[in-house]
């Protein structure tokens, strides 16, 4: 759910840029360190960025009869970790703004905060919690992607409600209104993205086990992956 170019007042656009900046800078430092230690990893990061972009361009059938795009932040966080996703997600958002006219540059900070920071961190936290509580890779992936998508939608609703509070009921009223308007598509999308991520990680656990292990994903034995 990208906030369109110009939709936020300038002060809000600037404030969300400041809020997202530490996470993106931290991610950029982590990425720079990683590349200095292992220059060949650069090509894999490029591949990861391209994968994130193309994943977000796929169309998931929507409950309203049209289609929506997955955010890919849950799967990205599980595969590449949230700090790297802060950078890859921001790069993806810039590409989406300049190649697809989705989102924008003045709203880049707000979109980065919801889709490249809040979504990946929430999704990764839920994924880790599910795995530590004994959940399978598939269960963790489903819950992580669901949480990432839902938190992205919730943060975006908060951003919109802060920017455009209701004259009568204020921020709380506007939050309820934005939440209700976007819930029609976003709750279904979160479930659909969770299911999609579950199917993807099951597939990858069978076909690309070595790559997942290299990325540090805790992949179960082949027998469990097939279950």
């Amino acid at each position: 759910m990208h906030i369109a170019e110009g939709f936020l007042p300038p002060i809000h656009a600037a404030a969300w840029t400041v809020a997202a900046a530490p996470f993106v800078v931290h991610g950029a430092r982590a990425l720079t360190r990683q590349v200095r230690e292992k220059p060949e990893g650069l090509l894999l990061l490029g591949a990861a960025g391209a994968f994130s972009f193309v994943l977000s361009a796929l169309k998931i059938p929507s409950v309203t009869g049209s289609s929506s795009h997955p955010t890919g932040t849950g799967l990205g966080a599980i595969l590449f970790r949230p700090p790297v996703m802060a950078v890859l997600g921001t790069i993806t958002l810039v590409f989406q703004a300049l190649l697809l006219a989705h989102g924008g540059l003045t709203t880049l900070g707000a979109n980065a905060f919801s889709m490249a920071v809040a979504g990946p961190w929430a999704g990764y936290a839920v994924y880790l919690l599910a795995r530590r509580l004994g959940g399978s890779l598939g269960t963790g992936a489903f819950l992580g992607a669901f949480a990432a998508d839902l938190s992205t939608y919730c943060v975006t609703s908060v951003q919109l409600a802060l920017a455009h509070p209701d004259p009568r009921t204020g921020f709380a009223g506007a939050l309820a209104e934005y939440g209700a308007v976007f819930a029609v598509t976003q709750v279904w999308l979160a479930i659909a993205e969770g299911l999609l991520t579950l199917l993807v990680v099951r597939l990858l656990a069978q076909s690309s086990r070595a790559e997942l292990v290299n990325l540090g994903v805790d992949v179960p034995a082949v027998k469990e992956a097939k279950a």
């Binding site: 369109a4 110009g6 490029g46 193309v54 300049l98 299911l195 199917l199 076909s207």
Partner: protein
Amino acid sequence: MLAIDAAAYRSPWRHRHPGDKAVLAFGLLGAAVALPPWPGAVIVGAVALGLLLGPARVPARQVWRSGRAPLGFAITGVLPLLVSVGGPGGFVTATPGGPRDAALVLARTVAAGLALLLFAFTTPLAEALPRLTRLGVPAPVVEVASLTYRMVFTLLDTAGQIRRAQAGRLGYASRRAALRSLAGIAGALFTQAFARAQRLQHGLTGRGYAGSLPVLADGARIDGRFVSLSAALVAAVVAVTLAVGA
């Protein structure tokens, strides 16, 4: 190739330095966001649209096709400005001044979107990316972005081919089948993206790869006249807006 990027390569401004177009487009973008929406957004929107359809020679149909998705978000996004939920007047009531506020936000979004499209439709991303290091973006981040850009098109092509093959086998006949097919695409893309990156790495290592893939950037220089005219146009937009709005 993506429609906007393809149009940027065909643009008559394609060989201009990205900085020239950034002054014009981002100047208008800043004006659209910072000036009062009435009459600022209307003036900025008209100027940006005039530049897109005129000197930049972008077909109107292409502008519409690229602009309709963000317009859809903006229209959905202003709906809550029209009504109030809860409060003393009833569960759902019309917001006083709601239509006016919604129109102003919509106008600002359209104007800012057109200014962004002015840059996107005239500047191939491949020419803007290498110059980001001069703006302070760390070189490894720019390198990852450049690699991402190069790999995106082959992956999009692969995704399109797989999707067509799946559709020919009724892979999208139901919602359940569609999800399975999409998972198949994502899984295949992941495998292919990493396999390609590894093959590329092996090939480049044999050629002395040290973590940087420098390419020749277009040798365009900043055109002082274009930049001055752009700055003057943006200043005129600001002046007219403030004069009319006073």
